[in-house]
Amino acid sequence: MEAEVKEKIVSIEKPHVEAPPDWQPVIMGILCNWCSYAGSDLTGTSRLQYPPNIRIIRVPCSSRVDPWFIIKSLQTSADGVLISGCHPGDCHYISGNYYARRRFLVTKRLLNFVGFHEDRIQFSWVSAAEGPKFAKVVTKVTEDIKKLGPLHLYKKENISQT
């Protein structure tokens, strides 16, 4: 049974499809408006550079992020997802990021269980003052996803074939 599960886990990430040499991953970044989105703006105003693979979606609070968004991203457009909110204790909406934190842990374990590499779903806490940290986080996530390669097998167009 366990071997069977493991076999299935391996099946989403592998067989590793050789990425074309000019392949660039797409990373979906879902950021809370008050801390991380503001932090990412600060990265811009400070002209700090990071890889151009991330596409940013603004939500009011990290607690607004439905696991559905993560799954849908991986299913349709993204090779990895980054969710970022206010530091625990600093939530603009008092306690939203605590709910988010718990929800993400479960989501991550679930996705890991069904076969996604854990680095494909990453979470961070970036405050409105942490422009450099945001650049660092995006750079790290991009590098992680590049190492993992394209996420082919779960994509809609491939599901019927596998």
């Binding site: 990071y50 940013i56 009011p60 696991p67 008092i94 306690s95």
Partner: protein
């Protein structure tokens, strides 16, 4: 049929230098729904906004995407442009191609261009699901609640009431006045605290727009900005304030003696008491903990001597409710307990007192008639050591912050000591002298010159007893030597600490507080008097240590905020709030649990159309909802959605690239 207009901004060279803007426009034109796309040098400028307005009309656009700087920057500007063209402002989406693209990918124009196109694609996709939203109009109850009757609460209440807005002022002790009433003279002018405070206290009591509730506490706060409901407990005073004349016969005859809190326990008060002679209201209350009549049912002297028959031993606590629109929290501070400083012998040596005890002693109306005395033997001290920063700026034993007022009042104490005991000498151990404020540095200089006090820069390491004197051993860092000073009296400038029940009050009000218990302002610089909860404001030391001028200034600022809030009959609120689709709601109430604002309640609706059976569903109070979206993500049946950030909008963004 959707007709989207895309407007791409050059932002001078900020975007255009690193993103191929014309290529982005061409790419945008390929999107099926985009009927019009154009670029311009400065979209936020008046001609730029004019282009948007004209295009909306000319091309019958149904939603607008502006690709420019961050929406945190100019979303409001562009929304207004839409409004001006007669379009619902919430049909706007902003693609952030400056902060998120041109500025962060300056070395890779191709990638930045591609990314910008993607961001526009996402914004266009999101705008497909945008709906017309309208600002929510919330009625306002024009009455303010002020919690705390110290100088902050008094000033706030008077300023609000002077604007002809009714105020409910709640004070937990029998009289208003707070800490300022305990002070003798105030720095830097040395004017008498009572002389400037008591007229204000009388103003409060006689003001037609102020309802003064002394000896009361706030129990509950429900509702939201403009529409709060507060429950206040009026503690039983056992004295009928309506008939009591405050003659004082009762407290003169009362046989029970209790340490007097107002005088820091230096003398005694009675079980029926008015805290100080200038108290407002000047009516006594019975201290139920100590009154023998209330404990054992024996005595009753006060009732016998009261000519008006105002004493009523059967009086009960009374709960009253008021509808209010805004709250000013002005609960003030407590002094930090210096117990951890064991090496000072706090608690062991009677002649070590706190600054507020010293303040009461030198007060003309104080327990010693304005003369400082040694608590151990009642002698007048000739050599007094003042130790600053007891608790403050001491991470090891106390707290990290600076209490702000101690440098000034210690200089004042040196002066008061000099005025009261001419042949005395003050020694002041200090870390730094922080005298920032109008006339403050001059005041400290004046104190040093007039009193010839010895300022010793360094910490005290030990205090021990030698005969009837206290030996204070410390370091004089300026000569690099250990010094010992023989003292008759030691005064500790203990730290300003939040009022002990602040954290409970904060939870009750639903506002946040820091690790010490000081209540948190919404923004440390730009919103210093507001809290994160709309309609609740902070004044005075409840937020951070402050001196009197600052406290008064902040109190007046809260009054301005309250008056601003009440300027109209209704308030407009952002329409980005959650709504429940009751068809889908299963009544699990997970949303009720996660809502940080208690904005969700349940309601009962018919099971089916015309059915007599009922089912429970969630109901969101849009006046309270702040639009965080916690409830949307937790909802199992997808019955809740958040306007402006709907599931559809976000999923559209995700699948568009």
């Amino acid at each position: 049929m959707a007709r989207v207009g895309v407007f791409v901004c050059f932002c001078g060279a900020n975007i255009a230098d690193f993103v191929d803007v014309p290529a982005v426009v061409e790419e945008a034109k390929k999107i099926k729904e985009v009927k019009y796309a154009i670029d311009y040098k400065y979209m936020c400028s008046d001609p730029g906004q004019g282009m948007i307005r004209d295009a909306i009309v000319a091309h019958r656009l149904t939603s607008i995407v502006v690709a420019a700087c961050s929406p945190r920057m100019h979303e409001k500007t562009f929304r207004k442009a839409l409004s001006d063209a007669g379009m619902n402002p919430y049909l706007l989406e902003v693609a952030n191609i400056r902060e998120h693209s041109s500025w962060v990918h300056q070395k890779d124009k191709k990638a930045a261009t591609e990314k910008s196109s993607d961001l526009i694609r996402m914004a266009v996709a999101k705008s497909m699901a945008n709906e017309q939203l309208h600002e929510i109009s919330v009625p306002v109850t024009k009455r303010a609640l002020v919690i705390g009757g110290g100088i902050a609460g008094i000033q706030a209440a008077l300023d609000i009431a002077d604007a002809r807005i009714p105020v409910v002022l709640v004070e937990k002790s029998p009289s208003i006045g707070g800490k300022m009433a305990q002070l003798d003279e105030t720095f830097p002018t040395l004017d008498c605290s009572q002389c400037i405070l008591t007229p204000k206290m009388v103003d409060v009591a006689s003001h037609p727009y102020i309802e003064l509730l002394p000896y009361s506490e706030v129990l509950e706060l429900d509702g939201y900005v403009g529409n709060y409901k507060v429950k206040i407990k009026r503690k039983a005073s056992y004295v009928n304030f309506d008939t009591c004349t405050g003659c004082g016969a009762c407290w003169q005859k009362c046989p029970v003696k209790v340490p007097n809190e107002f005088n820091m326990g230096i003398d005694k008060r009675k079980a029926i008491y008015s805290p100080f002679p200038q108290a407002v209201p000047n009516k006594p209350v019975i201290d139920a903990e100590h009154c023998t009549m209330l404990i054992k049912g024996k005595c009753g002297i006060c009732a016998k001597v009261c000519e008006k028959g105002s004493i009523d031993y059967t009086m009960q606590d009374e709960i009253i409710e008021r509808e209010i629109g805004a709250v000013v929290v002005a609960t003030g501070y407590d002094l930090w307990d210096p117990k951890p400083y064991e090496e000072y012998g706090v608690g062991r040596y009677k002649d070590i007192i706190t600054s507020l005890e010293f303040e009461r002693m030198v007060s003309a109306s104080g327990p010693t008639g304005g003369v400082p005395v040694r608590p151990s033997d009642g002698k007048i001290p000739k050599s007094v050591v003042f130790i600053k920063c007891v608790g403050s700026r001491d991470e090891a034993k106390g707290i990290e912050y600076c209490s702000k007022i101690c440098c000034m009042y210690t200089a004042k104490h040196a002066m008061l000591l000099h005025h009261k005991v001419h042949d005395s000498h003050a020694y002041i151990f200090y870390m730094d002298i922080r005298a920032a404020g109008k006339g403050y540095e001059e005041f400290v200089k004046r104190a040093q010159v007039e009193t010839a006090a010895t300022y010793l820069r360094g910490r005290v390491s030990k205090i021990y007893k030698k005969g009837d004197k206290l030996m204070v051993r410390g370091e004089d860092a300026q000569i690099g030597q250990v010094v010992e000073v023989e003292a008759d009296l030691v005064v500790l400038a203990t730290a300003v600490y939040p009022y002990k029940d602040n954290s409970d009050l904060a939870r009750l009000l639903g506002i946040s507080y820091d690790k010490y218990g000081f209540l948190s302002e919404a923004h440390p610089k730009l919103r210093p008097v507001e809290t994160a909860k709309a309609g609740i404001f902070l004044a005075g030391c409840t937020q951070a240590p402050k001196d009197i001028p600052e406290t008064v200034a902040q109190a007046s600022a809260t009054a301005a905020k309250v008056c601003g809030l009440f300027a109209g009959d209704t308030m407009l609120k952002d329409p980005m709030v959650s709504t429940v689709n009751t068809d889908y709601c299963t009544g699990c109430q997970n949303c009720v649990t996660v809502c940080p604002y208690q904005a969700i309640i349940t309601e009962e609706i018919p099971l089916g159309h015309g059915s007599k059976e009922i089912r429970t569903v969630a109901k969101i109070n849009e006046g309270v909802c702040q639009g965080c979206g916690s409830c949307v993500a937790i909802c199992r049946s997808m019955a809740i959605d958040l306007a402006g950030f709907t599931d559809m909008q976000i999923i559209n963004e995700i699948v568009s690239i």
